[in-house]
Symmetry: C2
Subunit: 334 residues, 2 copies
C-alpha cells in the first residue's frame, strides 16, 4: 500500500466522518499531524462551539512530546490557542498538517485556525477542499502570505463527500433518511442495538426537524425524542393529508417541541437539517428530494417485512463505519 | 484517536484482509514497518508461493530510503532475503515490525522469516497471533534467542478472525457461502458489477470444491468457471437427490473439472476450502455448517426476490471492504 499524502488525508477524512452531522451547523472536519514523518495525531471537530479539528490535532500532537503539560487540562478553543501561541517554541516547524477543509480565517465562536497555524509555522499544510463559506474562507491565502507551503486538492472528491451536508445546509436544506434494517432488508421489530439507538437519539438532538409519516404515528404511537442521551426533542412534521390524530400519542406530549401536521413537503425547505424516519411510503414520495440515506445494518438475517421492495434507487456509498457490532452506511442518491 | 500498537496492527490486519482466502492454503498475513516512529510500509502476503507479508514489507521499507536500489527488481522471496541479508547495513535496527501472525520458522517454498528478521535485528517485533502450524512455529523463540524484543497478543481477537479460515482448513474444512445482493436483499438479475464478478472468479480459481444446488443448475444452466481471470475452473458438487441433469448444461462441458452429483453433505469434509453459491434452499440446509458468508452488496435498492426471507441467523461482521463501488462483507455465524 502506498503511504503518501492521500494515505494520511484519508485518515483525517475517516476521523471526521465519525462526527458527520453531529457538528451541525459546522462542517465535519478532520486533521492529521506528522512531525518529521512520524504520525502524531488524528483528530476531528466534534461539535459546534468545541475546538476545530486543527486545534484538537495540535493539542494531541503537542502532548505526545510533553504528556504532562498543563495543556492537557485546557479544553476551550481559546485556551488551547493561547497556550500554543505562548509555548510552541518551534515544535511544529517540522510538522506536516493534513486538514480536510481550508483552515478557517475568521474569529467566530472560536479563534481563527489560519491565524494560529501561521504563528506555529508548520513545514507544510495539506488541504483537501477549499472553504465554501465566504465569511470563514481565506485561510490558505493567510498561510501563503506567511510563506507556509500549502498544497490544495489531495483527496478532493472524498473531502467533498464529507463536506456535502454542510454545503447543502449552508445554502438550503439537507435531508437525510434514517433507516435500520437487517442484512436481508427486514425492518420488523427491534432491529437495532442499544448503541445504534443512542446514535439515532444523538442525531435527533441535532436536527431542526424530523419528518415522519402519518401512518407510522397512528400505528407505532412513537415518542420521537432524544431521551437516551437526555437531549433536545426535535420538532416534528407529520406528513399526512388527514390532520386528525389521537392527542394521547406520546410525541404530542413532549414539552418544548412543535408538531406540524401537513402534506406540503415544501415546508421542509424552511429548515436546514431535516431527518426523515419512515418506510416505503415516505421514501417513495421523497426519493427525488433526499440527499443521504443513513442506513444502520444489523448483521443478522430475519424473516420479516422488507420495507423497500417496490422501489428502484441507485446510490453511491460515501462512507461507512461501525456502530458497535452494527454497520452505519452513508448513501448518496446517484 | 489513539495512535498506539493497536493502531498500527489494525493497518496490518486490514491490509491482510484484502487477500483473505486468496492466499490458500497459506494464511492471510499483514505486516507494518515503522522506522524511528515513521510509517514506512504496509504490506501483505498475496498468494501461496509469493513472498510472505514480512518480506514484502521489508522490501517496501528499504525502498523508501533507497528508491533506486536493485532490490526493486527482485520479486522472489529467496532473492529478497538474500539481498536484504547482504545489504541491510543496520537499516532495520531502529524499526518496529508489526506482523499479524508469528513469523514462520521453517524453510518451505520460501525461506524462514524468523531467520531473516533475527539477522536484520529490528528494535522490536510486535506479533498479534502465534502460529498454530506446528511445522512453521517457533519464530518468536528464534527472535527472542537473538535478544530481539517481541510483544505478543496485540489485537489478538482481530488477528484470530483474520486467521480463522486458515485454522479451519488446516485441520479440516472451511466452508464459505458467497452471495450477492442489493441493499434491500434483492438477488434478482445481475446484481454485481464486473469488478465483483472478477473477484468471484478469483475465488473460484482458488477453492477445492464449489457446491451448488440442483435447481440452480437446472434453471440457470451456469458455467461456474473462472474465465474472467483465465483461471482454473473449480470442481463442482451439485447438491441434488435427483441425479439426472441435461448434459448440455455448460458446467458439464468445462475441461479438467470433476462434477459430483450427490445429496451427501459429508462429502464436503473431503475438501479443505469449499465455496457455496446458492440461495435459500442451500443456505437453510447448510446454516449450521458454514463458517463464513462472503456477502457482496451492491448499493442500490431493487424490486425483486429476497432470497433469505425465511431464515433467522445471527452473524458477527469480521471484516468488510470495498470492491470498487460495492461492498464485500465477511460474516461469521454466531
Amino acid at each position: 500500500m502506498k503511504i503518501d499524502d492521500n494515505f494520511y488525508m484519508k485518515l483525517a477524512i475517516d476521523e471526521a466522518w465519525k462526527y458527520q452531522l453531529l457538528t451541525y451547523p459546522n462542517p465535519a472536519v478532520g486533521c492529521v499531524i506528522l512531525k518529521d514523518g512520524k504520525l502524531l495525531s488524528i483528530e476531528a471537530h466534534k461539535e459546534a462551539g468545541m475546538p476545530h479539528a486543527e486545534v484538537n490535532a495540535l493539542k494531541a500532537a503537542y502532548l505526545i512530546e510533553y504528556p504532562n503539560s498543563i495543556l492537557k487540562m485546557k479544553n476551550s478553543s481559546q485556551d488551547i490557542h493561547t497556550f500554543l501561541l505562548e509555548n510552541h517554541n518551534g515544535y511544529f516547524n517540522d510538522c506536516e498538517i493534513f486538514v480536510t477543509l481550508e483552515p478557517c480565517n475568521h474569529i467566530g465562536k472560536t479563534p481563527s485556525c489560519a491565524n494560529l497555524l501561521k504563528e506555529l509555522k508548520p513545514k507544510r499544510v495539506i488541504v483537501a477542499h477549499e472553504d465554501i463559506n465566504k465569511v470563514a474562507s481565506g485561510g490558505i491565502e493567510t498561510l501563503k502570505n506567511f510563506n507556509i507551503d500549502v498544497s490544495l486538492g489531495c483527496m478532493k472528491k472524498e473531502a467533498y463527500n464529507l463536506l456535502y451536508p454542510f454545503i447543502k445546509w449552508s445554502s438550503g436544506t439537507f435531508i437525510f433518511y434514517k433507516m435500520a434494517q437487517t442484512l436481508n432488508g427486514c425492518i420488523d421489530g427491534t432491529v437495532s442495538s442499544k448503541m445504534s439507538q443512542l446514535y439515532v437519539h444523538t442525531l435527533r438532538d441535532k436536527v431542526d426537524l424530523m419528518l415522519i409519516g402519518g401512518n407510522t404515528v397512528r400505528i407505532d404511537k412513537p415518542t420521537l425524542d432524544a431521551r437516551y442521551i437526555a437531549g433536545r426533542a426535535p420538532n416534528i412534521m407529520i406528513y399526512s393529508k388527514n390532520k386528525i390524530f389521537d392527542n394521547n400519542i406520546q410525541l404530542f406530549k413532549v414539552p418544548n417541541r412543535q408538531v406540524l401536521i401537513s402534506d406540503d413537503l415544501f415546508k421542509l425547505l424552511d429548515y436546514k437539517l431535516v431527518m426523515v424516519e419512515g418506510v416505503y411510503n415516505l421514501m417513495n414520495i421523497l426519493k427525488e428530494k433526499i440527499d443521504y440515506i443513513v442506513l444502520i445494518v444489523s448483521p443478522k438475517i430475519r424473516n420479516g417485512i422488507n420495507a423497500l421492495n417496490d422501489i428502484n434507487i441507485d446510490f453511491e456509498i460515501v462512507h461507512e463505519n461501525y456502530l458497535g457490532e452494527e454497520k452505519i452506511i452513508y448513501l448518496k442518491r446517484k
